[in-house]
């Protein structure tokens, strides 16, 4: 059984997945941040691979990506940092990024290396259903990686079901039609989450985009298996000398 599936079996509710950008705030802080997340109650880690043109991201994650790139982060470097990380980190880790750098690394070589270092799954928002089914999905499967699709409030019901079928690990419910870090009214979101809940999907569902504190985490967890926090966490550790301390304070405030 995959590490992600296992995690949801052990703890199906109030699952907290935290996004952090590799190489941010400092090139060598990647593992420190991941460890601090594990030690302070995160259940999963979504590790962002910085990209020059992150289309689906708002200003906070764009900035963290730009800083990480300026720090010298690359996919090559990231795999170096992740080599041996399973000695310390036992919670599931998902790599999130965009197709271009992955294609440049070589899609198959990338999947092979990710699996080898102990990564559990991938989120590639600009790899859509058709391309996944036609070419890339088989490679992801070959290396035993989970692949997580996104759905939004605009996604039709039959499409949600298709994307649920193609996904493994969990399904990523984007809370509102927006880039990351956007503050849209959360009440409207609740209706959509109720609708998702009623579909009886095969995968667990985590809600992302706009989850930023205890209140929004609790609200999302009411209807789904949990939530993903990104921009709010990046803001919390940005410019901090002591990322462990900043991570601890942030997670404590969300999980209190």
């Amino acid at each position: 059984m995959s590490r992600i599936k296992n995690a949801f079996n052990k703890k199906p509710q109030r699952v907290l997945n935290v996004y952090c950008t590799a190489g941010f705030p400092a090139l060598d802080s990647t593992l420190d941040v991941m460890l601090a997340l594990q030690d302070n109650g995160a259940d999963l880690i979504e590790l962002g691979m910085p990209y020059s043109d992150p289309l689906a991201d708002g200003p906070v994650i764009q900035d963290s990506s730009a800083i990480a790139l300026a720090n010298g982060m690359t996919i090559e470097k990231l795999f170096e940092q992740l080599t041996g990380f399973r000695n310390k980190i036992t919670i599931p880790v998902i790599l999130m990024g965009y197709m271009n750098p992955v294609l440049q690394y070589g899609f198959e070589a990338f999947c092979a290396k990710a699996a080898e270092v102990g990564v559990d799954g991938l989120i590639l928002p600009d790899l859509p259903q058709y391309e996944f089914e036609a070419e890339y999905g088989a490679i992801v499967k070959k290396y035993g990686l989970d692949f997580i699709f996104l759905v939004t409030p605009e996604t039709a019901e039959d499409r949600i079901k298709q994307l649920d079928k193609l996904s493994s690990g969990f399904l990523y419910a984007v809370s509102s039609s927006s880039t990351t870090g956007n503050d849209k009214d959360f009440n409207a979101v609740e209706k959509y989450l109720e609708r998702l809940q009623s579909l009886k999907l095969t995968n667990p569902v985590l809600v992302g985009f706009g989850i930023k504190d205890k209140e929004t985490f609790d609200a999302a967890s009411k209807y789904t298996n949990g939530a993903i926090i990104g921009s709010a966490f990046i803001k919390a550790i940005g410019g901090k000398e002591n990322v462990q301390q900043a991570t601890k304070e942030f997670l404590t405030s969300v999980l209190k």
């Binding site: 043109d53 689906a56 271009n100 750098p101 440049q104 790899l127 984007v174 039609s177 880039t179």
Partner: protein, 396 residues
């Protein structure tokens, strides 16, 4: 898949191995709506009628095909200029802007967004939005806002909101990112008018169709002037590639016609300051399609350079990537200096001040070993008014 024509992509938007729709789910609804409806809408009689009417009475089409006699004499060949510079708003961009805004209206959209480099596409879109009473927001790189000030003023006067793109290289690529992000955040009432043959399927095909009026007219006009519809060469500059796609379109499957695309080499192809996506790029995904992308070994998109804001783009439309790889198109390049020199030459010989972008196509002529037997059509994609501050730096 067996592609019999270069004109159209397959049903998934592929020209050979380039194209497709690499978009996040947040854009799916909008792009899918377009994909399933664009052909039906643009083939409706009422659409065709309104489009043709506006091209004629509003834009001033057909644009003339002008035999540039003095330039022809100097280069020892026959040069015909397709005068897209004489269109209302001063470039070919209006052909596409009208088409897409009419389409957006029929899709019930109330809000129009666009990206722009040189500002020509932004001006064209703002113009059609003024005509139709639609809200218009144009994203433009901060660097381009500085170097294309006259077009920024025009867009504002036309009632558009010009939003500076301050991320990355602060040019066309980043303006496009910002426009896409806007579309993600406004998934219901907004249409994104992409200005070139780039973006996810169906944009490259849709924009190529709207620009194909250029070669449709060239065939007729050339027949009248020379007795033959087919030139020996068609030459156009390529940023994303829309004026080239339009000028090539009805010649794509006429294999006797050499299609020449001229890219911007900036300070020189090996200078690290250029925008020659075919030769410096590798297969990648940029702005929703697989094309040739200038990038680092780590897959980060590099900041291109060209003196002309409209060619300052690190990718190339999938149709052109395919024309390049298949050998159907001849891809050459011209530097900043060569383009400026060609602009002054045309101005002195013919009394026509070309846009900096179009000047690259003119500069390319010198590399073609043309003879008296050749009939060469150059797409003069735009006029040089917007570039006067750059040109003035070269006046001694």
């Amino acid at each position: 898949m067996g592609q019999e024509t270069f004109q159209q992509p397959n049903e998934h938007g592929y020209y050979g191995k380039f194209g497709g729709a690499f978009i996040p789910e947040m854009l799916h609804r909008n792009v899918e709506e377009l994909r399933t409806k664009y052909l039906e809408i643009i083939n409706e009689p009422s659409f065709k009628e309104e489009y043709a009417y506006l091209l004629k009475d509003y834009v001033g089409r057909p644009s003339p095909l002008y035999l540039a006699e003095r330039l022809s004499e100097k280069l020892g060949t026959n040069i015909y200029l397709k005068r897209e510079d004489l269109n209302h708003t001063g470039a070919h961009k209006i052909n596409n802007a009208i088409g897409q805004v009419l389409l957006a209206q029929r899709l019930g959209k109330k809000r129009i967004i666009a990206e722009t480099g040189a500002g020509q596409h932004g001006v064209a879109t703002a113009t059609v939005c003024a005509l139709k009473g639609l809200e218009c927001i144009v994203y433009m790189g901060e660097k381009d806002i500085e170097r294309q000030a006259p077009n920024v003023a025009r867009m504002k006067m036309l009632g558009a909101t010009v939003v500076p793109a301050t991320s990355g290289s602060k040019t066309l690529k980043d303006a496009t990112n910002e426009a896409i992000r806007d579309w993600i955040n406004n998934p219901v009432d907004t249409h994104y008018v992409i200005g070139s043959v780039v973006g996810p399927h169906p944009y490259p095909d849709m924009v190529a169709r709207f620009q194909s009026i250029i070669s449709e007219e060239i065939r007729k006009q050339l027949k009248e002037k020379t007795g033959s519809e087919l030139p020996t060469h068609v030459v156009a500059c390529v940023g994303g590639g829309s004026n080239a796609a339009g000028a090539f379109f009805h010649f794509l499957d006429e294999l006797s016609v050499q299609l020449v695309a001229v890219e911007a080499a900036g300070h020189g192809i090996d200078s690290g300051m250029s925008a020659v996506a075919t030769k410096l790029g590798t297969v990648g995904v940029l702005h929703g399609s697989k094309n040739l992308v200038m990038q680092t070994a780590d897959g980060q998109v590099v900041e291109p350079h060209s003196i002309s804001a409209g060619l300052d783009y690190p990718g190339i439309g999938p149709l052109h990537a395919h024309l390049y790889e298949s050998g159907r198109g001849k891809f050459i390049y011209a530097t900043d200096d060569e383009a400026v020199e060609a602009a002054f030459e045309l101005t002195k010989l013919e009394g026509i001040i070309p846009a900096l972008e179009s000047s690259h196509a003119l500069a390319g002529l010198k590399q073609l070993n043309l003879t008296k037997k050749d009939i060469v059509v150059v797409c003069l994609s735009g006029r040089g008014d917007k570039d006067m501050s750059t040109y003035m730096k070269y006046v001694k």
